[in-house]
Chain length 223, copies 2
């Protein structure tokens, strides 16, 4: 069974090209001929290595899932090794530090995969329905429970809501999703500078997490 250097190189080139083009134009607007042409391979290679276009899409996500989760969990592990009860701010900073590191690590695809994730949030593909929760539920659960512990003035349900807002905000922020660029002719903010995004984002979301409860009556008083 072939795992030769040449074969790996071919499937990798396809994955790289596909990842970039899926981000840029979306799944449907990206044709097999465009992908294989960009990768410099024959069009039949996609079906040979990945079975189908759907299979390729799934493979693009599969390749990134494990290193992605490990990177973000690693920062949380390190934090919880240093502090028994990390603050919400520290948890957010761990997440942001992981995002920054991801953006600098070319071997992980940089922020391209974050952009692909951000696209997938509003443009779900049935192929990912099963694999995504399996790959990322631990990551999500760990960050949420860290926040639950650091925000005792909030009910667990409200922490889930805030994590929902926070995750949307942060993924879109690092993906460079720019509402202003669509709404204004000349927006001031440069949404594609990760360092700047991190600097501006942290105080915003930390204050949002620390804010008073919207539904204080639900907080468990016994903990």
């Amino acid at each position: 069974m072939g795992e030769s250097a040449k074969a790996v190189e071919t499937s990798t080139r396809i994955l790289d090209a596909a990842e970039l083009l899926f981000v840029e134009h979306g799944f449907d607007a990206t044709s097999m001929r465009l992908i294989t042409q960009a990768a410099g391979v024959n069009i039949a290679a996609v079906n040979y290595y990945f079975g189908s276009k759907d299979g390729l899409f799934k493979a693009v996500f599969e390749r990134r899932a494990e290193p992605f989760a490990r990177l973000f969990l690693g920062h949380l592990d390190q934090l919880e090794r240093q502090y028994a009860n990390p603050s919400a701010k520290q948890v957010v900073e761990a997440f942001v530090a992981a995002a920054i590191e991801l953006g600098q690590e070319a071997s992980l695809g940089g922020l391209i995969f974050v952009r692909l994730l951000a696209r997938t949030f509003v443009e779900p593909h049935p192929v990912l329905k099963e694999s995504m929760p399996r790959r990322y539920s631990e990551l999500t659960r760990r960050y949420i429970s860290a926040l639950v512990k650091s925000l005792p003035h909030l009910s667990e349900a409200e922490v889930h809501w805030r994590f929902h807002f926070l995750a949307n905000a942060m993924f879109n922020a690092f993906a460079g999703t720019n509402v202003l660029r669509l709404f204004m002719a000349h927006p001031i903010v440069n949404a594609r500078d990760p360092q700047m995004v991190a600097r501006m984002l942290v105080p915003f979301v930390v204050a949002g997490l620390d804010a008073q409860a919207a539904m204080p009556e639900l907080v468990d008083q016994n903990s």
Copy 2:
């Protein structure tokens, strides 16, 4: 030139069906045959009324633009008539109240158009490049300048950044964009309940706006 009841009804049915299907499947994955079938009209009707599929897409946005902007500006106008210097919280509440009203107003398409906007942020279409800023720049400018006035501890640039985060968070929140649903098998939050979204969202983003400046050195001390 025809503006008969039947003709208007036909083009309206096309717009309604297209709006819904573009939200659900995106521009490329929505075929003309699917749209016209859902609208109960002949396939040639789209080209007859809107020239092309691109023209239809543009028309879907054009129909909503003016009422949408007027609704959100109306709430801000009312606020500024009542208060000379409204707080950031009041500005946010005006925006949220407009979103809630939009969701209840079937004649404005409810929240479907908000979902379409949220999709367009990460999936831009060249056809909208020119028309969107023309339609929404006043709306954006007005809300930003209201926030600039209500947040004197922030530089104008930092207010732009926070509005950038806020707009992303709020549009995606009301659009029901759900990161958790993709990452977890059984998320707790019900992201499609506008009343609940509003209740949980306001304290989060208001605290984020009121937070200390990330770059305090840039604040103009002379104002």
